[in-house]
């Protein structure tokens, strides 16, 4: 019968309207009186009596609740995580970056006993503005020193701010993404919990002791 298809369309849209929105309102969600009361775990009446000021605000539609969508722990994000203690300055990441946006300048290190095996990193610039977050730099890092980050809201006002310098990498709190790091996944680590990982716990293998390094050094000679 004619009109049945049109009627079906009306039914589907009405069902969707009753089910309510599925979108996430980043970064916070406006809730009404009922929503705010539910967030606080009170009944709306309790809420009105106990916190009348907030209740009026909520009834006027100004109460907000933080709303964030849960991200996967493997999310390949913007702020790279770098562990200087693991990095040898081999520049594999720079070599294999498809876009060539990583710049590394190293100098031989005097401070470490195994002089010559570990280098000082003088420059480690990652130009986020051209990065496509493929994660190949992380994939090829033989010492698990470079990790993808999990942030995504690092908008800046100038292009030059998009270049991550070695100092920024040194000072930032490391919450590495578990992308291409199964060893992190095994420990059920979630970077979005905000918990940071020290350099000793992110590698596939233990850092060799100085003695071991000495031995290997001699052996390979």
């Amino acid at each position: 019968m004619i009109g049945l298809g049109l009627l079906n369309g009306l039914i589907v849209t009405m069902k969707a309207a009753i089910r309510g929105p599925v979108t996430v309102q980043y970064p916070d969600r406006r809730v009404g009186l009922l929503g705010a009361a539910r967030e606080l775990g009170m009944s709306p009446f309790q809420f009105l009596v106990k916190r009348p000021k907030d209740a009026v605000k909520a009834a006027a539609g100004f109460a907000t609740v933080e709303d964030k969508i849960a991200q996967g722990p493997r999310f390949r994000g913007q702020d790279f995580n770098w562990y200087e203690d693991r990095c040898t300055g081999c520049a594999s990441c720079a070599k294999f970056c498809p876009l060539g946006i990583i710049e590394i300048v190293t100098s031989p290190s005097d401070t470490l006993k195994s002089q010559g095996e570990v280098y000082n990193i003088d420059v480690f610039d990652i130009d986020i503005g051209r990065c496509m977050f493929c994660g190949i730099c992380v994939e090829v890092c033989p010492y698990d020193a470079l990790h993808m980050g999990s942030g995504f809201e690092l908008g800046t006002y100038e292009r030059k701010d998009l270049v991550i310098s070695v100092d920024a990498l040194r000072t930032k709190k490391n919450t590495p993404s578990t992308w291409f790091r199964p060893q992190l996944e095994e420990t059920a680590y979630n970077p979005h919990s905000g918990e940071s990982r020290p350099w000793t716990e992110v590698g596939r293998h233990e850092q060799p002791t100085d003695e071991e390094l000495n031995e290997r050094w001699v052996d390979e000679r």
Binding site: A16, Q25, R30
Partner: protein, 419 residues
């Protein structure tokens, strides 16, 4: 004289405060006592009252445009599993205000090739019919600007004016997309005026008058029940007249960008938008007045309140269809008007004529008989017309499971180079 605006206590008070009228409804004057104007100046009192009324009504409608924009966006959001605007003000109610401010401060661009006079005049012309229709709508008991004895004819005549505005916009822009939109709009608006006018004939037969106030007064049973077919045709035709989905071919953003107002920006665009939303509200008002017994209802709510309450479901349905249905194609829209709606309207006219011949002055009981007969006619005629030129039902694809290779087919002949 029947009814006039002096039935409304608010306007009566204004009038009676001003004039020393000997109108019986003014006995005892207004709130402030007797009229302040000397005798012989009743016309001035009348004029001032009319201007006040016009200001009140126009501003109320303009304000309701803002509310309607907000409500439509919220509702569309809900229908689409979104939440809609919710940042500015409580529940996003200030979003249309923010939009209006933004629109006002936008740069007003006139394309170099545009016909400046026509281009600039089009938005103003667009606003004319929307504001003029306002005059004859009985918003409640005594709440109207003019009780024209040709009210319905006036509405049909005045709404055609928007065709001029659309053609002016399309032509003046010197833009092919705009021209496409304008041409489509003209074809559609002209086609849909015929079923729109025809569908009202049944109502006129029942009411015996062209005046909207009389039509409202005649509705002891709302005419949507007595004239369901007429209502259906009028509703569809008025959605088409106001260029809304599924008849929004004049704008057709997926085909024409924005149709006839592609090149407009700033407040000129705002005027177009405003006129469209005003037209939507006013067509809902006309539907309420003609088919939903206007402001009549139980007396615990004032008649103006009833009028607005009855407008809400009409507007809701208009928004709902916009969310649910895609746009029709222009040639199908015209086919639909000429082959479908006009025939339905004629059936309605014929049935109404017969019925009003049988029952020239229907009692309540006879009215309900008419309701039953008309609903039968509605179902039968809609199904017949649908079967005549409506689309066939859907078919499902065949599923192939086996290892059959595609049927060998002869290779096709090349059809020449590209472009």
């Amino acid at each position: 004289m029947g009814t006039n605006f002096l039935d409304n206590s608010f306007f009566r008070n204004i009038y009676c405060n001003l004039s020393k009228s000997d109108d019986i409804r003014c006995s005892g004057g207004g709130w402030l006592g007797d009229g302040i104007l000397p005798a012989g100046f009743e016309w001035l009192a009348f004029l001032i009252t009319a201007v006040v009324m016009a200001m009140v009504l126009i501003n109320l409608v303009l304000g309701s445009v803002l509310i309607f924009i907000w409500a439509e966006r919220r509702l569309l959001g809900r229908f689409q599993s979104r939440s809609g605007p919710n940042r500015w003000g409580p529940y996003g109610t200030l979003t249309p205000v923010a939009d209006a401010i933004k629109t006002m401060f936008k740069e007003d661009i006139v394309p170099t090739a545009a016909d400046r006079w026509v281009f600039n005049a089009a938005p103003i012309v667009m606003m004319v019919p929307a504001t003029m229709v306002l005059a004859v709508i009985p918003w409640g008991t005594g709440t109207f600007l003019a009780d024209l004895n040709i009210g319905i004819l006036f509405i049909i005549a005045i709404t055609s004016l928007s065709t001029f505005a659309i053609v002016m916009a399309g032509w003046g822009s010197q833009n092919r997309y705009a021209m496409f939109g304008a041409m489509r709009a003209v074809a559609m608006l002209i086609s849909y005026e015929i079923p729109m006018a025809l569908s009202l004939l049944g109502v006129l037969m029942l009411a015996g008058s062209l005046s909207l106030v009389s039509v409202v007064n005649a509705q002891d049973v709302p005419f949507i029940l007595v004239q369901p077919l007429g209502f259906l045709v009028f509703f569809i035709a008025s959605i088409a007249e106001i260029n809304r989905a599924p008849f929004d071919v004049a704008e057709a953003e997926s085909e024409l960008g924005a149709g006839y107002h592609s090149d407009y920006s700033g407040m000129k665009f705002g005027l177009f938008l405003n006129a469209e939303f005003m037209a939507t509200i006013l067509s809902a008002a006309v539907i309420v007045a003609v088919f939903l017994s206007g402001g009549r209802g139980w007396s615990f709510i004032p008649s103006q309140g009833w009028f607005i309450i009855k407008m809400i479901p009409v507007l809701f349905f208009i928004v709902w269809t916009r969310a649910a249905w895609p746009r029709m194609r222009i040639d199908q829209i015209l086919t639909f008007a000429w082959k479908g709606l006009i025939i339905l309207a004629f059936i309605n006219v014929a049935v109404s004529a017969i019925l009003s011949f049988v029952w020239p002055d229907p009692t309540m009981r006879e009215l309900w008989f008419m309701v039953a007969i008309n609903f039968g006619v509605l179902i039968v005629s809609v199904m017949a017309v649908g079967a005549w030129f409506g689309p066939q039902g859907a078919s499902a694809p065949n599923m192939s499971h086996g290892d059959a290779l595609p049927r060998p087919r002869p290779a096709g002949q090349p059809s020449g180079g590209d472009s």
